[in-house]
């Protein structure tokens, strides 16, 4: 948008350039990876995954307080973490902006659905998302491309779940099932199920492929790669004048001067930058006299369960790849008024005849002793030889799983702050996390597990993993694992209780904006990407207007 408005923009990227057309892992076979696609310290989601990095980066530590847990996923590369995500592109609903008014917990957003809706529309058209019109009250429809048909296990899940009152509808993913009109740069999906590897025809959304590349071509935008930003620079009036960064290739310090500074480094990294930008006018970091920067950190909740569907054992082979992700999902369908926890969750499903890789067939001794073989006879678990070899063929494609992704409540006591003693290899003070789940999230996870067990039972499936009880908090994942963390620079009308205003503009530094997940007041039971995009577009429009008016 800035590029289209003719504004000279420089984008500082902490990692290398990346283009899935040149940096190819898509359409590779497992044997082309010496580790058969297994994950590594360099790529936490597997050897073919597009995203570099993960929950730990060499030379860039983070710490924890009071024995609490938070896992921070970082991907330093052009497009960042949009190179690894499920492409699940859900709009927040009207209730998602006003949760405090509904259940008394957390805070309302200063804006409502009607403020964001026009930008959701524009993001839909600019980027593309498939789905189906459902007219649900809190899961607003997008301007959809047609969805793919459900796969076999998805049909079975749909029949089972809907029969017990749990809706299953087409998923909503930013994948081009049809080419976008007026977009010559991107091709339509060719159904390889590998969105996570980066798409050579740009058939799915990642910010590098879909937004940054065209911006670079506009000639108004320059990208400086391998630029690790140290702090935002300010003048005597407290206004931002640019940033300083260390070039990772020569380890020298550089500065960039700018009229406006926009942070989109991910919720925690942007908070870190604000807190590390100390000056006489901003002794506690920028826009942090309220001490709110870093607070209200919250990630989605996650819990999962999986099993085997005996009726799919020995199934007929066909290409079942489809798009990169589920073809159906379950939006939150209940009213929390009638439940013992306050916020909802959606359910994601997977299974079928996927590409084998590292881990394929592991634990066969837990499976082949429990079901009659091709000859109808039972045999002892485990084994070796021709009979065992055939078991791998026989059980292939009969397993499935489901996971809940829920809304956690934003709390002041869950936060990141600057660790007073630790710096990273660039000498930049690092983040220290303090995060605890509350009873609300644990009870929600318990409800997820009960729901999964009911669906699996109705499907005629057998649970093989994920049957966790209270002793394991019902399998509730550690905070940070779902990689939806938001809230660290939250928006609000009151500068004492928020960091940015309703246009993502820092309360205490009018030419500084934060446009990642940081400004979220509450996370919703939706993936944050589509809302980050809509709010970022809205903020960009505001910046352009304010620049025209000479206000900034």
């Amino acid at each position: 948008m800035m590029a289209q408005a003719g504004i000279k923009t420089v984008l500082l990227e902490a990692g290398p350039m990346y283009d899935p057309k040149k940096n190819v892992t898509q359409m590779k076979w497992p044997w082309e990876s010496p580790r058969r696609g297994a994950s590594t310290a360099h790529r936490n989601f597997g050897d073919f995954d597009a995203a570099y990095g993960g929950w730990s980066l060499e030379g860039e530590p983070y710490t924890h307080k009071d024995g609490t847990k938070f896992d921070w996923f970082r991907s330093r590369m052009l497009g960042g973490r949009t190179n690894h995500w499920g492409r699940i592109s859900l709009r927040f609903g009207p209730k998602d902006f006003k949760r405090k008014s509904i259940d008394g917990m957390g805070d309302d957003w200063p804006i409502g659905y009607e403020d964001v809706a026009p930008y959701y529309d524009r993001v839909d058209k600019l980027i593309g998302v498939f789905g189906s019109k459902e007219n649900l009250p809190n899961d607003p429809d997008s301007i959809f491309l047609p969805p793919p048909k459900p796969r076999l296990h998805e049909l079975i899940i749909k029949d089972a779940a809907t029969s017990i009152g749990i809706p299953v509808i087409p998923s909503r993913l930013s994948i081009l099932t049809k080419a976008l009109p007026d977009n010559k740069d991107r091709g339509a999906c060719f159904y390889c199920a590998q969105c996570n590897r980066g798409c050579q025809v740009y058939g799915d959304f990642s910010s590098s492929s879909v937004l940054v590349n065209p911006a670079i071509n506009s000639t108004h935008v320059d990208v400086i790669a391998n630029a690790m930003v140290r702090e935002v620079l300010t003048n005597d009036e407290g206004l931002a004048t640019g940033v300083s960064y260390v070039d990772k290739t020569d380890m020298q310090e550089y500065t960039v001067q700018a009229r406006v500074v926009i942070l989109a480094a991910s919720a925690c990294e942007s908070a870190r930058l604000l807190m590390n930008s100390k000056s006489a006018r901003h002794p506690n970091g920028i826009s942090n006299s309220s001490n709110i920067v870093g607070k209200y950190l919250h990630d989605s909740t996650g819990a999962a369960m999986g099993g085997i569907l005996p009726k799919l054992i020995g199934r007929k082979r066909y290409n079942e790849d489809g798009v990169g992700g589920m073809h159906v999902y379950t939006p939150w369908w209940l009213d929390n008024k009638n439940l013992d926890f306050k916020r909802g969750y959606h359910i994601e499903y997977w299974g079928g005849m996927g590409m084998p890789g590292y881990g394929f067939g592991f634990g066969m001794q837990g499976l082949n002793g429990k079901y009659p073989g091709r000859d109808g006879k039972m045999k002892p678990a485990g084994g070796y030889g021709a009979l065992l070899k055939d078991d791998y063929r026989y059980f292939y494609g009969a397993t499935f799983g489901m996971s809940g992704r829920g809304e956690a409540i934003a709390r002041e006591d869950n936060y990141c702050e600057i660790d007073p003693k630790v710096v990273d290899k660039f000498g930049i003070p690092v983040l220290r996390f303090h995060y605890k789940w509350s009873e609300e999230e644990v009870k929600q996870a318990r409800h997820m597990k009960q729901t999964f067990a009911e669906i699996i039972d109705k499907m005629g499936g057998v649970v093989t993993w994920g049957n966790d009880g209270a002793e394991k908090d019902y399998g509730l994942e550690a905070p940070g694992r779902i990689i939806h963390e938001v809230g660290t620079t939250r928006m609000g009308d009151d500068p004492k209780r928020s960091v940015v205003n309703r246009y993502n503009q820092a309360h205490e530094c009018k030419n500084l904006f934060v446009v990642d997940g940081g400004p979220f007041v509450s996370q919703a039971d939706k993936n944050p990407t589509w809302t980050i995009l809509a709010l970022s577009m809205r903020a960009s429009e505001y910046i352009i207007e304010e620049m025209k008016k000479q206000n900034i």
Partner: protein, 215 residues
């Protein structure tokens, strides 16, 4: 963008790669671990080269792994054996890449040889076929294993896992398994005969709203 052109070039790319891999002469003593031809960061390249320059298993251990892997996945009418699919080289690589496998594998192999020595006076690979299978029968069936061989069972479970995943993620194994994806296509749902087999169908609304292909 002409999607057809891309579909075509992908297909050619896939065939080209296959031909390259096959061009290694059979029986050649070089490792069957594939050279890298996908996106790698400099750190990943350095890590790969370091691992490839190291050797973890001794010749005797590799020999034992080869024999064991072929017991687990033997040649049959559909496909070749684990060692023909390069599984021992995969195991050598993966234990270097995942150091947590090193002690269980090395120690497990040692456990096996000691046990064989006790039972028939030779290390595993030097036993007769009958001696070897009699040994495996003691550790390959966890629910029937007698007390005292639990460590052998644990080792064999790991060996079975690594062998099977190494085999079924190899070119030979994927062909055997019948995985039919990883190819550009227009995915138009579950085939009719499969829907019929399970007594399922797409409802009218699904058919109406789902993506349709012109060709």
């Amino acid at each position: 963008m002409d999607r057809r052109k891309y579909l075509k070039s992908f297909t050619v790319g896939a065939i080209g790669t296959g031909a390259l891999l096959q061009s290694c002469a059979p029986g050649e003593k070089t490792s069957q671990v594939a050279p890298l031809n996908h996106d790698r960061t400099p750190e990943e390249k350095a890590h790969y080269e370091k691992l490839m320059s190291e050797k973890f298993f001794t010749e005797h251990e590799m020999k034992t792994i080869t024999v064991l892997s072929d017991y687990i996945i033997p040649k049959d009418e559909t496909s070749g054996s684990a060692s023909e699919a390069g599984v021992p080289d995969f195991i050598e690589f993966i234990v270097k890449d995942m150091p947590h496998h090193q002690v269980p594998m090395r120690g497990g192999l040692k456990w096996l040889d000691l046990r064989c020595n006790k039972e028939f006076g030779k290390p595993f690979v030097e036993g007769s076929g009958e001696q070897q299978t009699a040994m495996l029968d003691q550790i390959a069936y966890p629910d029937q294993a007698k007390p005292g061989v639990e460590q052998g069972v644990a080792f064999f479970n790991l060996m079975r896992d690594l062998t099977a995943c190494g085999f079924f993620s190899s070119k030979m194994g994927i062909k055997d398994l019948g995985y039919m994806g990883n190819t550009p296509n227009q995915w138009d749902g579950v085939p009719d005969e499969v829907l019929k087999q399970y007594g399922l169908s797409y409802d009218q609304r699904t058919l109406d709203i789902s993506v349709k292909f012109d060709s």
